[in-house]
Subunit: 232 residues, 2 copies
């Protein structure tokens, strides 16, 4: 068997995957300027990570840089896109056309292209057939049919919490294997389905923790009292 000099070596660590998308955006910005080559130092700065981590992450893809020079913007972009599976377009369905669903539908293809929204679903009869962002809203009951018809591969759940699990089940039984969940519940899915959750309340609470901690720390350092229990 001929061994290629390029190509993915082994499984890419999850943590690295989630940063590849970030590098990709940084590369896009560069591509818009006249820059054709970047060093790990520069790209890392643009992506907000340190350069050793960036080089390590890229090393999982293979060897696409040039020692003493850096990375070719075009080559690296294409390589990351290939690894992330962005060469084939994924068709997206958004379920739940409330405030958030509306916003998502109007994003029109999700920033960073490659993710055209191709179907919208809601229970609200008043919305049926109404075009949002150029796409008509279909009935939840028709998820299976419409998803099959339009080749949906990614489902976005933007419904209230109480209906998220049932919507999810419908999507899964329609063959959707990737789900982005904005509803504040833990979805139960088969092993071969990938779910990612975006939870605004959780993000806010994490921020809240950091404000609180900082305030506590500051009070402690203030010399006088504080709510501090932190024995360091």
């Amino acid at each position: 068997m001929a061994k290629s000099a390029h190509g993915q070596h082994g499984p890419i660590p999850e943590a690295a995957v989630s940063r590849l998308a970030v590098y990709l955006r940084a590369l896009s910005s560069l591509a818009e300027t006249e820059v054709t080559s970047v060093s790990s130092e520069e790209l890392a700065a643009a992506a907000g990570v340190n350069s050793a981590k960036l080089r390590k992450d890229l090393s999982y893809l293979g060897s696409y840089g040039t020692r003493g020079v850096g990375y070719d913007v075009r080559v690296l972009t294409e390589e990351i896109e290939r690894v992330l599976g962005l060469t084939a377009n994924q068709a997206v369905a958004v379920v739940g056309i409330g405030n958030l669903g509306h916003a998502l539908a109007n994003y029109g293809g999700f920033p960073g292209r490659g993710f055209p929204v191709r179907a919208l679903f809601d229970v609200d009869a008043d919305l049926l057939g109404v075009p949002v962002g150029g796409i008509q809203v279909s009935r939840i009951e028709d998820i299976a049919e419409v998803c099959a018809e339009r080749g949906i591969t990614i489902g976005v759940i933007a419904t209230p919490a109480f209906s998220a699990q049932s919507v999810c089940a419908r999507l899964v039984s329609s063959g959707v294997r990737c789900i982005l969940n904005f509803a504040p519940v833990e979805l139960v899915v088969p092993d071969d389905v990938e779910v990612r959750k975006v939870d605004l309340a959780v993000e806010m609470q994490i921020l809240s923790f950091h404000v609180a901690r900082r305030a506590g720390t500051r009070a402690a350092e203030e010399g006088t009292n504080g709510m501090v229990t932190n024995p360091s």
Copy 2:
């Protein structure tokens, strides 16, 4: 010095903090039923993690369970809220009242209470003074004044990428130390400012990677079936 049996022992690992908020929601659901006590096993299932991890996470807060019994829902809820700093309400400002900003403003306090939206900002003159979700939109130039006036502690950036950094700078110089960023850029902030980023394109791309990988794996295994890929 009297040593309390309770209270936080040391610094709480970042990974644990980000799950506390998830446990909190699971606890809220339980509180709505008549359940007053849960085991780590049950709570872990509701939160989508394994029970060892949950127990370890909770152990960073101190010892709030009862051996042989479990955790008191009320007590644990209060403890997590205290640690996350949810006892004091954080006032939120949303900057950029486009599709997404609109949706965020209408959330009205962010699910999971404790985060009332108290200010909205946009550059669009047509929006000035228009109430969205009950709050009037103010001018970006007035960020400093309005934030001080309303005691804003958390800023949410929902502007286009090109204005995110300048909006961020305004928020920071107005004293805001926590930022939730929806714009697809890496914000540069002083060390004492905490930024969390929510990036829909990145989430989609990570999902895309998993579809691609699955498809690849399946193709490779075609013939001899089995979901076994793990070379252990």
